[in-house]
């Protein structure tokens, strides 16, 4: 599903040049659950952003379902993104002005799904995430675990093929963290490909494969069974 080779990303500021990704090469098959690990600053988030088509690489190739997308313009990327990819962030990134229901509804709005269908799909996913009873609350009124469940709900509501999660449990206590990991595992079992960045060895055990990174390069790939 994903095939990257010699992927490069360089950040240039006035004083320094940071090579965030240095000729990175790997691939991810459909239905895999991959954990990306590595010390802080090694380029994990950068990688995830490029995989999520939020950012473009400076060099190398990125095949998404067989299509070269490394040089897609912003509109094309946005289009591909909203149809295929869902995101989960460490800091939830919910819109404070919108209710739980409205936050989850948002991707469907941008996809152009009609009102009644939207309502039904949002309710289904909220039910699945067990936060239906909070549908009219605002994010600030929820606990961290609940907020992350909303974020996961939002990431999956448009049935994406790929979910990218950047330290999804980073801001959660272990019981809430485990709940979220369970949700991701369930999704994966239903066929969704998942790439997750994490610092936690515990969380990484939910995945099939661990990619370890150092200074913008992969060092090892452990396959877990």
């Amino acid at each position: 599903m994903i095939k990257i080779s010699d992927l490069q990303k360089v950040y240039r500021t006035e004083e320094v040049e940071t090579i965030a990704l240095n000729k990175l090469t790997f691939d991810v098959k459909e239905g895999e659950f991959v954990a990306v690990m590595g010390p802080s600053g090694c380029g994990k988030s950068t990688l995830l952003n490029i995989l999520g088509l939020l950012d473009d690489p400076d060099g190398g190739s990125f095949l998404f379902n067989g299509t070269e997308v490394a040089h897609f313009n912003e509109r094309k990327r946005a289009d591909l993104r909203k149809r295929n990819i869902g995101f989960v962030f460490q800091s939830f990134n919910l819109i404070d002005e919108l209710t739980v229901f409205e936050n989850v509804e948002l991707p469907l709005i941008y996809l152009g799904v009609k009102g009644p269908e939207r309502k039904q799909r949002v309710e289904t996913v909220l039910d699945k995430m067990q936060i239906m009873h909070r549908r009219n609350h605002y994010p600030q009124q929820l606990s961290g675990g609940q907020q992350q469940r909303v974020a996961v709900a939002r990431a999956v509501v448009n049935n994406p093929k790929l979910i990218l999660a950047d330290e999804p449990t980073g801001n959660l206590d272990s019981s809430n963290g485990n709940e979220v990991m369970q949700l991701l595992t369930d999704l994966n079992e239903q066929g969704t490909t998942i790439i997750m960045v994490t610092h936690s060895e515990h969380d990484s055990r939910y995945s099939h494969r661990i990619i370890r990174m150092l200074d913008g390069q992969t060092v090892t790939e452990n396959i877990l069974v």
Binding site: F89, S91, D96
Partner: protein
């Protein structure tokens, strides 16, 4: 999608109530100012537009040229327009209007009708002034016929039928029949009368022989052409026309008359000759500009606050992009928000206008509108303008916000709105440029007004009680005795009678005066007829010769006093030289016996022109009683009693000379007041914006302030830190605004023959005012955050 936009727009407005309030308040105040000005300007532009044949109506006006000067008059003599109709097939019809002031009575109901005019019957067919009752062709055809407006019909007859009834003109002597009732003149007419009397009454009965008097200019003449396009051709034929009719007489008098045709639609605003009511194109331009400026200031607030808050909105933008929004959709969302805000402001503006309209009518001195909701189309236009502002003001923030790159924002490496800072500063500067320029303008207008009110006019206007007897013959025939009775009133010092009071218009008399070469030079002189006490009582100084004196019998018929201006016009170097020179004026010949020091017999807008005094009781229309100023009410009451005993037929009309003179500045006064109000609005809206920006930047620097306080900075130091940046902007604005204001106000002052110099302090003061207000606004937040507990602000990180 749209519903989602509006939902989030509303929630955003509500969450950030203070910002929304500042924005909406500023915009709605700006919009209502604009709406009011729009109403005012469109009212001014609507003058005389209601005449169906307006395009074909022209006012006949006369330029009178003598060897010394040219008078551009707005009138034509009685025979001119009828002769034009007879001579030129292009002329379909003419109307003459001769304004006058007569005492009109019906039994005990008596009114001095200042707004009375003699007019031709054709008035009803040429102008769109419909009769409610009566036959428009005949209503003003024969002598002693009167047409009343609906209002004056009610005044005299109440609910009774007026047509066929009798009214008496000039008290009780001249009966006239009411032959019609007309609708009141529309507010936007450059002439308005309450009572019309047939022209034949004037030309055949009151002033027989007037039909042949080509040199008498008092009233107005209008011609209706078959085709407006004929006007230039007709104009070209007018010199020959004048020559044919009175060429010989004019040559003898060394005068030329040049007739001109002014399009009806241009009279109110564009004629330099004036009209019974006339407007000012510059003022309209100024107010239109002010409206645009105020709207601009309000829109700038909007842009500034929206971009300043962009950092707060950045996260939302990032998330929306991550879940699939593209830039177009986000731009649409932000534009939608600003349009929504503008619509809310618009609704408030309409409400505000409805409340303010009566006040504004009062301020502008006329009924520009009877109610805001009479102007559906205007409101529609403003709604469009509001939406346009929403789009215009929203587009920049929308583009900035929608352009955020989601990863930068969500990673938190996003630096808050640094990009917009220069633009924001520029916009704040331009707001204050406008505000400071308006403040400067206001100060200049008020200084000029103060100057005009306090200027030594060259005559004494204090404690002069003026009684208008409107030339009643009972008075001037027995005026010596009447004067005696007046001087014996309590606290009365002296009394004098005259044809006019300084400050009012005088007839311009065609005169011939002996100049320094010994030649009789034709000169236009403004003429005052006075009695022997006038010069002394009004404190007018004699600089050469002597005042009128009963000791010289010839003074009453063969002597005049001239002013210094006349002396120099005639080429003399000193006033002494003119004493004893000959004059010939309006049927009198004789010598100049004295020269008075120049005094302002007109408002300070006008330069002092040549004038003269003569003795002629027949012309008297006013008595002035000089009073001591003690117990004024008692004097007035006693004068009223005396009046009612002497002239029971006439209402007692009095005023004080100084108050009346100051009325000459009424339109400047109104202008000043409007200017002041709009300047206040401008600075108010600017400061609202400043308040918003200041609170925002203070918020952003909360942590810095906390650290500084921990390190020992004083409250004053922090206030200074936070205010400095803003005050710098005001200072820059001051440097830009001052020359602009100077240029603008220099132009405005040109309308005044006597005017102030714009001293540096006016500009300094305007700058100071703006600076203080800005400082106050900014430091409101600065002080609050400087006083806050630093541990609190540091903990929020």
């Amino acid at each position: 999608m749209i519903r989602n936009y509006f939902k989030i727009a509303f929630r955003n407005l509500w969450r950030h109530r203070v910002f929304s309030f500042i924005n909406i308040l500023g915009l709605s105040v700006g919009m209502s100012a604009c709406l009011l000005i729009y109403l005012y300007v469109s009212f001014e532009l609507s003058y005389d537009r209601y005449h169906a044949k307006g395009d074909r109506i022209f006012r006949v006006v006369t330029n009178i040229k003598t060897p010394t000067d040219t008078l551009d008059w707005n009138s034509a003599s009685i025979p001119m327009s009828p002769a034009m109709k007879k001579d030129f097939p292009e002329v379909e019809q003419f109307v003459r209007i001769e304004p006058n002031s007569l005492l009109v009575s019906r039994g005990e109901t008596k009114f001095q009708e200042d707004k009375l005019a003699f007019a031709d019957s054709s008035l009803f067919s040429v102008f769109t002034l419909p009769l409610v009752k009566g036959d428009p062709d005949k209503a003003l055809a024969a002598p002693w016929q009167v047409v009343l407006t609906e209002t004056s019909a009610k005044k005299y007859f109440g609910t009774a039928e007026p047509v066929g009834q009798t009214l008496y003109l000039t008290g009780s002597r001249l009966p006239a029949t009411v032959t019609g009732v007309m609708k009141d003149f529309p507010d936007n007419s450059h002439f308005k009368y309450d009572i019309l009397v047939s022209m034949t009454t004037w030309t055949q009965k009151i002033n027989p022989g007037l039909d042949d008097q080509w040199e008498g200019f008092n009233g107005f003449a209008y011609v209706l052409l078959h085709d407006a396009k004929d006007a230039p051709g007709l104009k070209a034929k007018l010199p020959a026309f004048i020559d044919r009719h009175i060429g010989k007489d004019l040559q003898k008098a060394q005068m030329t008359f040049t007739l001109d045709l002014e399009p009806m639609k241009d009279i109110y605003l564009r004629s330099k000759r004036g009209a019974p009511e006339s407007g000012s194109l510059p003022n309209i331009t100024i107010f239109s500009l002010i409206a645009v400026f105020i709207l601009l200031i309000a829109s700038i607030n909007f842009i500034n606050l929206a971009t300043a808050r962009s950092a707060e909105r950045a996260k939302e933008v990032g998330i929306r992009k991550v879940v699939g929004a593209d830039r177009k959709q986000l731009t649409g969302q932000f534009l939608g928000e600003s349009v929504l805000l503008c619509m809310i402001s618009f609704l408030m503006a309409v409400g505000l206008c409805a409340l303010l309209l009566p006040l504004f009518n009062q301020l502008s001195g006329k009924t520009i509108s009877h109610g805001i909701f009479d102007h559906a189309s205007t409101i529609g236009i403003l709604l469009l303008i509001a939406i346009t502002i929403g789009l215009f003001a929203g587009i920049y923030p929308a583009l900035v916000l929608s352009g955020f790159r989601p990863i930068a924002v969500l990673k938190g490496s996003f630096s808050s709105g640094k990009k917009g800072i220069l633009l924001r500063k520029g916009l704040v500067v331009s707001q204050f440029v406008i505000s400071i320029a308006l403040i400067t303008g206001t100060l200049v207008v008020y200084s000029q007004l103060t100057f005009m009110r306090n200027q030594d006019l060259g005559f004494s206007k204090q404690q002069q009680l003026v009684i208008n007897f409107d030339g009643d013959s009972t008075i001037w025939q027995h005026y010596e005795a009447f004067k005696q009775q007046l001087t014996s009133l309590p606290n009365a010092l002296s009394a004098t009678a005259s044809s006019a009071i300084p400050g009012q218009g005088n007839p311009t008399a065609y005169s011939q005066l002996e100049n320094h070469l010994g030649v009789m030079q034709p000169t236009n002189m403004e003429l005052f007829s006075i009695d022997y006490d006038f010069i002394k009582q009004y404190g007018i100084q004699i600089v050469a010769g002597r005042p009128f004196s009963t000791g010289f019998p010839s003074d009453s018929t063969r002597a005049i006093l001239v002013n210094e201006e006349a002396v120099s016009t005639l080429g003399y170097h000193s006033p002494q030289e003119i004493i004893g020179k000959k004059f010939s004026q309006w049927g009198r010949q004789g010598t100049i016996i004295g020269v008075v020091k120049n005094f302002h017999f007109r408002g300070l807008q006008n330069a002092i022109k040549p004038m003269d005094f003569r003795i002629r009781p027949r012309d008297f229309s006013f008595v002035t009683v000089k009073i001591s100023g003690r117990d004024v009410q008692k004097t007035i009451a006693a004068a009223g009693d005396l009046w009612r005993r002497t002239l029971p037929n006439r209402p007692f009309a009095y005023y004080f000379a100084d108050e009346e003179f100051n009325k000459l500045y009424r339109s400047e006064d109104q202008f000043g007041q409007l200017f002041l109000n709009f300047a206040i609005l401008a600075i108010f809206i600017s400061c609202l914006g400043l308040l918003g920006l200041a609170s925002y930047s203070t918020l952003q620097r909360t942590k810095e302030i906390g650290i500084r306080k921990v390190l020992g900075s004083s409250v004053g130091g922090i206030v200074n830190l936070l205010s400095k940046d803003f005050l710098k902007l005001v200072w820059i604005a001051f440097l830009i605004a001052s020359p602009l204001a100077y240029i603008g106000m220099h132009k405005w002052l040109q309308d005044f023959a006597y005017r102030i110099d714009m001293d540096w302090w006016i500009f300094a003061m305007a700058g100071m005012i703006a600076m203080l207000i800005a400082l106050f606004t900014v430091s409101f937040h600065a002080v609050r955050s400087a006083l806050a507990n630093p541990t609190k602000s540091l903990r929020t990180e």
